[in-house]
């Protein structure tokens, strides 16, 4: 029933069927190139200029090779951590926004980071257990706290074999956030100055992981989360349109919601355990990428992972160079960019 008039409008609008596969490949190449360039450049930039030739010169003993030490111990792990944490938080944001059908959701909305923070602070303030192998107590405690918070919200919002109530999820998450924040304040009240200082520094987020061990320890969790994410994209499209509609189109809604919740919580927990609760990455990146590539989760999800990696590495680069030799906490940098951006989004949605 295409009228000549509407056909003309069509041509003007360029509504020829877009081959999504081609768009997907082009997007991956562009965002992949961006992430690669950022991650390869970032370790070369810093307050101390280093000689790359010397850094890779194996003839100089490592303990005498300052360039190699800066490159391989100070900067490279930091960039890798930034990329992984950025990717994890960005995708967790995308997934939580689709799961909750709410564009203003973040990876921290459901209380995962508050649980992690309480866990980490308990160890910082009250002490606790010794390191387990390469894992130090603070990340382990934050992981346990995050897991406990996620499990609690999950149990509250699900009943067996039925779809999750997004309202219950949101209310439970928001309440848990407030409750845990009170406990965090109480823990700070009981602590001395040095402990409070350490704890509040942890809350600001820090990618200075000081080597590859913390990254390797978190890697299995991140890999697990991303395997979970890989099963989700087309189902998330339909889920974000409506749960009943999704179910009638052949989506296993209850299973998709479970995978989405577990994977995103796992990614968030691992990211927070590595670098502390770095805010705003999980909301800015999904929205920016959605503006750039559209809302189709098959493109949005991987593009957000790549863009999130690049974004956090750049923020961390700014954090360690802008006010050198003083370092700005990376969580402050992302918040300074993210706060105004979030408000702009709110106004735009209203």
């Amino acid at each position: 029933m295409t009228t000549p008039q509407s056909a003309a409008v069509l041509q003007a609008a360029g509504a020829a069927p877009r081959p999504l596969r081609a768009r997907f490949i082009a997007t991956m190449l562009a965002f992949g190139a961006l992430a690669a360039v950022v991650c390869l450049t970032a370790p070369l930039v810093g307050t101390t200029s280093i000689n790359l030739g010397r850094a890779f010169d194996r003839s100089i003993p490592f303990q005498d090779n300052v360039d190699a030490q800066i490159f391989f111990v100070a900067r490279l792990p930091r960039v890798v951590a930034g990329a992984l944490v950025g990717a994890a938080l960005a995708v967790a944001g995308v997934v939580f926004q689709a799961l909750l059908r709410n564009p203003l959701a973040t990876p921290f909305t459901l209380g995962v980071s508050a649980g992690a923070s309480l866990g980490a602070m308990s160890v910082i303030i009250f002490g606790g257990f010794a390191a387990v192998g390469p894992l130090s107590p603070v990340p382990i405690a934050s992981l346990l706290g995050a897991g406990a918070a996620a499990a609690l919200v999950y149990v509250l919002a699900t009943s067996p074999g039925r779809v999750m109530s997004t309202t219950v999820l949101l209310l439970a998450g928001v309440t848990l956030n407030a409750f845990l924040s009170a406990l965090i304040l109480f823990a700070q009240y009981l602590a001395d100055f040095a402990e409070v200082y350490r704890a509040s520094r942890w809350l600001m987020g820090d990618l200075d992981v000081g080597g590859f061990d913390p990254i390797l320890a978190a890697l299995p969790l991140l890999v697990g989360a991303f395997v979970g994410f890989a099963t989700l994209p087309s189902s998330l499209n339909l889920l974000s349109v409506g749960t009943d509609l999704a179910a009638s189109r052949g989506v296993d809604v209850a299973r998709t919601q479970r995978w989405a919740f577990v994977s995103a919580s796992l990614a968030t927990s691992a990211a927070v355990a590595v670098a502390g609760p770095i805010g705003f990455v999980g909301i800015i990146v999904p929205h920016l990428v959605r503006l750039l590539v559209g809302a189709d989760h098959r493109v949005l999800l991987p593009a957000s992972a790549l863009f999130g990696a690049a974004f956090l590495v750049v923020c961390d680069l700014a954090a360690r160079t802008l006010m050198a030799p003083v370092e700005i906490p990376v969580g402050v940098v992302t918040a300074l960019i993210g706060g105004p951006f979030f408000l702009w989004l709110l106004v735009r949605h209203a």
């Binding site: 029933m1 295409t2 009228t3 509407s6 409008v9 069509l10 609008a13 360029g14 509504a15 069927p17 081959p19 999504l20 596969r21 997907f24 926004q97 689709a98 059908r101 709410n102 564009p103 009943s159 099963t231 087309s234 499209n237 339909l238 974000s240 349109v241 409506g242 009943d244 509609l245 179910a247 009638s248 189109r249 052949g250 989506v251 296993d252 959605r290 559209g294 809302a295 189709d296 098959r298």
Partner: protein, 265 residues
Amino acid sequence: MSLTGHRLSYSYHRRRAQPVLAIHDVSVAVATGSLTGLLGPNGCGKTTLLRLLSGVERPTSGTVILDGRDITGFGRRPLARRIAVVPQETHPAFDYSVLDMVLMGRHPHLGAFEFEGPEDHRVAREALEATNTWHLADRPFSALSGGEKQRVVIASALAQEADILLLDEPTASLDLGAQLDIAALLQTLHRERAVTMVMATHDLNFAASVCDTLVLMKAGRVLGNGPTGNVMTAAYVRELYGVDVDVLFDERAGHLMVVGSRRAR
């Protein structure tokens, strides 16, 4: 009989002391190619019945049978290739384009990691043309009017290439012109494509104009059913809604017309 609900019951809050019975012992038979209207007051169980028939919800007791087979044995995607649903209102959380929305109807035809191919685009285009929305293909769904949105959602259901369409109050909250567009569209689908349709509605004249069969529900039970001409009577309307009406045959419109509604005393 293509789609049958056999002695369906469904209750909410099953784990509480007093479950809320939404529908009770309802049996319906939807003939292949028919356009069946589901009438009844608010809360009578129309939406619940549609959810059970579509397989989105499992009945507390009873079975839904599609071509002689219990639909619980179909699997989600195969079932979605047979039965499509048009909800009362659709509010995507994100800004999908009209074409995106219609392509999502292809979900049950695609593998988990598959992108839509030329065939899917052909089907989507046909569905958009059938609903007279092809000119909107590139527009954001959220920017459409209520009537356009409803036509696009119907297009999306058509792209599913199911032979049964379940619609929940497709004209609620639409203006008169948009209501007539939907009525004409459903009639075209009914006559030219022989799509089997079940449609819940509150609009008696709309039902009289398009439906060949009616199922009347009250308080979770079936009050009556049969050909529109037999069931669309003043007595039934009074029993359903507590409203006195006159049911006339409108020569110009070519169907029954419910007029002069007033609260029954």
